[in-house]
Amino acid sequence: MNDKSNMSLKIMFSIRSIIVALASGVILVGCAKIPDRLVSPMIKIEPAVVENKEAYKIMVSTGIQNENSDVALVNVKGNINFYDHRSDGTALLSVPFDFLIVLPFDTGIIEIEKFYSENEIMPLVAALGSNKEKLLSEKGLERSFIDDTNIRLELSSYEKKHILDVLKERVNEKN
């Protein structure tokens, strides 16, 4: 009798182990990689005039990569934050962006043009190793290789959707 109950206990244990292993697999599939860095960021700052006032145009060109194989990132909103690596870690400038969708294995291209006042932009110009006089004399400032300590990605909101649901929705919409 004891042998029999021991055996059934071991069988139960085996079955339970298999169920736990399968459940762990399902949980792992549910995890998605969220972009945490910008792809090849480039920044250009030019002097400009807005409503007869001195201003500066900032052009940011970069991207965020969705490395997931089956998860689309939907309604992505965030900021590109610029920092001075010598300061306390407070962002010098925050440039917002948004995407309707970033498909799996795709890069969402960010192309932003925004105008800022002198007070807003000069701390960033200094952090990039330039100053107002230099910027005006050279009619702009351009940086293609920005250190990770100077620029960071901040995602404020996003939704994760399985790619099959997204594609089926689109096919059904079309039909």
Binding site: I11, S69, L103
Partner: protein
Amino acid sequence: MKKINDSNIYLSVAIAALVVGLVVGAVSYYSIIIVEPKVERLLAATEDVDKNFKQAYLILRNPQIFAGYGNFDAEGISVKNSLAFFDKKIYYGDEIDSTRKAYLELLLDRREKGSTLGRNTAAFFIVLSLMFCTLFIHERRSANL
């Protein structure tokens, strides 16, 4: 010292291996018998190519358990690029014409390789289960002697 009863271990391993073999086998044969022929039929279509190819892609977008789309070696990069290409085509409502058939066949080939691997894995586990069953029977007989 208490002697360990090996027959219980043999039986547990035999049952566990059989369950794994049956699950993996069922998933693989479902792909071989139902999914892959269906995709082949859709890819053989000569009329309404766009609709049939899109339907085939939606089936292939759900990977076979042994041919997931999470990791790619150098050979698999073409599969990764095909996924990104067709996802965009379908999402933005672009037409998929017959010239793209080869890229869909690439995805089907990956699925077929996955299900073959699954079938072989199932066979391995079933053989393993039979081996442990034999050991269990042998152990029981020698205990009764």
